[in-house]
């Protein structure tokens, strides 16, 4: 148990050190090498499919940034765009290798063991819970839409419906947050 805990702390420490090392690098060649090494690491440590999926979602956002840079000025920006792409994917890879196996709870526990302030780790945990419940709410509401024969199209009504969905999601999360706060007060906060 103790060995496992030490090993986890080592993982998290290594992750942050590597992040600090990768962050200032701007050379596409060096970033390319690091990216390849990370890919090899992912194969070696057999990163599960779930991790690759998360990286793929991350890349969806990245595409917007990279493509916008290329559209604005391809000649001057291609190196920056490539650097952003490689840097972000190296970090995704490192997260998959070092943090993903710990799980969110394991990661937070390890942070606590490393002496990180309880307030901060609690905040990380609550953010995770909040995002998780938001995701669940969104999925359920999407089901509710589908159940009533809604088919998204490229028309005003579809945008309006999604607007209502987002609005209701905000209202619901606000009400839920209020309830959670009341529950905390009831338990002596």
């Amino acid at each position: 148990m103790e060995l496992n805990s030490k090993y986890n702390r080592l993982r998290v420490l290594l992750f942050f050190l590597l992040l600090l090392a990768v962050y200032p690098i701007n050379s596409p060649t060096l970033l390319g090498v690091l990216f390849l090494l990370t890919l090899l690491g992912m194969v070696f440590f057999r990163v599960p499919l779930k991790g690759l999926k998360l990286a793929l979602y991350g890349n969806l956002f990245l595409v917007f940034v990279v493509v916008s840079l290329l559209i604005l000025d391809f000649k001057n920006n291609w190196q920056t765009a490539l650097a952003i792409f490689l840097k972000a994917n190296t970090i995704f890879g490192l997260t998959n290798i070092l943090i993903l196996p710990l799980g969110v709870v394991g990661f937070i526990r390890t942070l606590e063991e490393m002496g990180i302030s309880k307030k901060f780790t609690l905040l990380v945990f609550l953010s995770y819970r909040y995002i998780h419940s938001l995701k669940r709410e969104y999925e359920t509401m999407n089901k509710a839409l589908a159940c009533r024969g809604f088919e998204p199209k490229t028309d005003i009504r579809t945008y309006k419906v999604y607007g209502y969905l987002l609005g209701m999601l905000t209202v619901k999360t606000y009400l839920k947050a209020k309830e959670v706060y009341k529950a905390m007060l009831c338990r002596g906060l």
Binding site: C147, M168, K172
Partner: protein, 225 residues
Amino acid sequence: MEKPLLEVRNLTVRRGNRTVLRNFNLFLGEGEKIVLAGANGVGKTTFAETILGFIPFEGEIIFEGKPVKGKRDFRELRKRVGYVFQNPDDQLFMPTVREELAFGPENLGLSRDQIAARVSKVARKFGLENLLDLPTFNLSFGQKRLVSIACILTMEPKLLLLDEPTNGLDRENWLRVAEFLQSFRGSAIVITHDRELIKFLRWRVVYLSELDFVSSLKLEVPPKG
């Protein structure tokens, strides 16, 4: 033999490593109404969500004589099967009750007049006329439950599928929902573990057990009065 509306053959549903339903069979005739009962966690809601195409499955689902397989088939099925969620908060998302009731018929492509007629007819049936312009999130739980049923009824579904419709209701609203179910003319599946409701409805009861098999039986209840 009754004309079949919904047939489920050898339905097996897995969630992760757990088999929730195994070789589940169900036959529902046109106009037939049944109760799907069982303890918490035996797969009642999973069954409903599988029928609607939200969960992958093995086996066959046949609706109105046609096998339902691909995404398009399920999209069509969802227009004809009205699903009332276990928690009304999960179902309601439009700003007002009126828009909530009109949302389904709009998706069916009905005209404004037809939609307005359906909305006022259903609102009258459930006593919701005074709530039509109120925001849905401000309603009481009982009112939300009534709206969640009403907004499905405006679609005039061929089959009504209700998940725990009497959960958390006070006596007055409980009676309202139970009496509506009893008087409902179409086909319906009510998922519940509310014994009082089962006795009240006196429909065929299908029990889902944890042993992954299903026994269908008629619940013996004393005659009314």
